[in-house]
């Protein structure tokens, strides 16, 4: 008998200091029954990958408001893959211009959420991303 919980790392890479959005998402995922690890502000891609590894999370959520997503997101994904975490799913939230989304999806992000996203959508899509067969 197993007692499995979805574990999610919510991380803020880069230099912007606004984590209201990250906290709202973290809280919503907690209420959806997940174990959410929040690491605080100003994380480097190395720090995020290291935390994800130590916590053995299923999903990493990156909150970025600074506009540096095109640099930060691929860097985080490369670090995750380099440390052997091939199966960790990544989503991005924040202020991301439409035009940049396809490249992020290409890089392996499974969803990009802008302002006003229903948090229940985020939770439901995490569950879907982890169990593709249930769709």
């Amino acid at each position: 008998m197993t007692d499995r919980k979805i574990r999610v790392l919510i991380a803020k890479p880069g230099l912007d200091g606004h984590d209201r959005g990250a906290k709202v998402v973290a809280r919503a995922l907690r209420d959806a029954g997940m174990e959410v690890i929040y690491t605080g502000l100003r994380q480097t891609p190395d720090m995020i990958a290291e935390s994800a590894l130590q916590e053995d999370v299923d999903v990493v959520g990156l909150s970025i408001l600074s506009g540096a997503h095109n640099a930060l997101v691929p860097a985080v994904i490369d670090k995750l893959r380099a440390s052997g975490m091939d199966d960790v799913r990544v989503f991005v939230g924040g202020i991301i211009p439409e035009a940049d989304i396809p490249a992020l999806l290409d890089k392996g992000v499974y969803a990009v959420y802008g302002p006003g996203t229903d948090t229940q959508t985020v939770a439901a899509e995490i569950k879907a991303a982890l169990n593709p067969s249930n769709n």
Partner: protein
């Protein structure tokens, strides 16, 4: 379910270690296999519990302690692991684990491994798997393991049965001197810390704690810290207590955010480690802990066995009688067992 290589864990493969911890936490069979394979390599690590009320600064203190042990040890710094437990929601079963926020200084050091745990319904301030996590980290070569409990009130004292050294963290302004002489968390302290010592009232808190300890010693037969745990099961044949030189729990003032007083705390933790070994208490604690673990395993196995053989229909009819007040809980028990 993938196989987990115990040798990889012993050789320092952090991903293998992390995956093993998950398997143990979820009760997956590979988790049990890896625990069995690694058990012979355990028993070396010094387990230090950090407990205290929410917001007293436990995470910040653990951060400072880990840094200090990693940077100031002359005889080669120990590898340090941190297990940080936060509560699970009783409603959703989810949890927000935020202890890493205070431990960002530690990232990038390959001699440190931090794992956050949700309590998953356990009530004693730890999670069910915390003890198993500590043994895996022990086998992985971590010599010093800090275990930060859920923000604990008065009765969350499981840490005393797991850790070799218990540090209880207080902060100024949380209660009067009557709180200090209540039973519970203060009794289990090997070291007492008044954190946020830069705040007004810190001296009063320290004085109240010292007075509490003074009263205990004045009573003569009050068991000094640590020893009362050893006689928990008086009717069972536990190891007799050797006559150790008494350890008097010190009260230390610390300002963790500035690192003030941390060096003194580090040396007290080392001193307590030496004391445990010199007095023979270390072996006694280990023996008693293994005994309790075994008793818990037996209890869980018996419960599972009973649940497997349970006659659902009979259970519900007895339960219905109980709800209707047709029988008492004790009578219900007799009918079911």
């Amino acid at each position: 379910m993938t196989h987990i290589d115990p040798d990889a864990i012993r050789q320092g493969d952090r991903l293998a270690l992390s995956r093993a911890l998950t398997a143990v936490e979820n009760g997956d069979p590979p988790g049990q296999d890896v625990q069995t394979a690694l058990f012979p390599y355990t028993g070396k690590a010094h387990l230090v519990g950090i407990t205290g009320a929410p917001g007293t600064g436990k995470s910040t203190l653990v951060n400072q302690l880990a840094k200090a042990f990693r940077h100031t040890d002359i005889n080669g710094a120990p590898k340090v692991a941190i297990l940080a437990v936060d509560p699970s929601s009783p409603f959703s079963g989810g949890a927000l684990l935020g202890d890493r926020i205070r431990m960002q200084d530690l990232s990038g050091d390959p001699g440190i491994f931090i794992r956050s745990m949700a309590s998953r319904g356990a009530l004693g301030g730890l999670a069910h798997s915390t003890a198993a996590f500590a043994t895996l980290l022990d086998a992985a070569g971590f010599e010093l393991i800090f275990i930060e409990t859920v923000g604990a009130g008065q009765a969350e004292v499981d840490i005393a049965q797991l850790a070799h050294t218990v540090v209880v963290v207080e902060a100024p302004g949380l209660g009067d001197d009557i709180q200090a002489i209540k039973a519970g968390i203060l009794e289990i302290a090997d070291i007492l810390v008044v954190n946020k010592a830069d705040r007004p009232g810190a001296e009063n808190t320290a004085r109240a704690l010292e007075a509490m300890l003074g009263m205990a010693q004045g009573r003569g037969n009050f068991p000094p810290s640590g020893k009362h745990l050893i006689t928990t099961f008086e009717n069972t044949q536990e190891e007799p207590i050797p006559a150790p030189a008494d350890w008097e729990p010190p009260v230390l003032c610390v300002t963790a955010t500035e690192g003030k007083g941390v060096a003194e705390l580090v040396s007290k933790i080392r001193e307590h480690h030496t004391y445990l070994h010199d007095s023979g208490l270390w072996q006694v604690k280990e023996a008693n802990r293994l005994r309790r673990d075994l008793e818990n395993l037996i209890r869980d196995a018996l419960l599972k066995d009973w649940q497997r053989n349970l006659d659902e229909e009979k259970f519900h009819s007895v339960l219905e009688d109980l709800i209707q007040r047709k029988c008492s809980p004790m009578e219900a028990l007799e009918r079911l067992l």
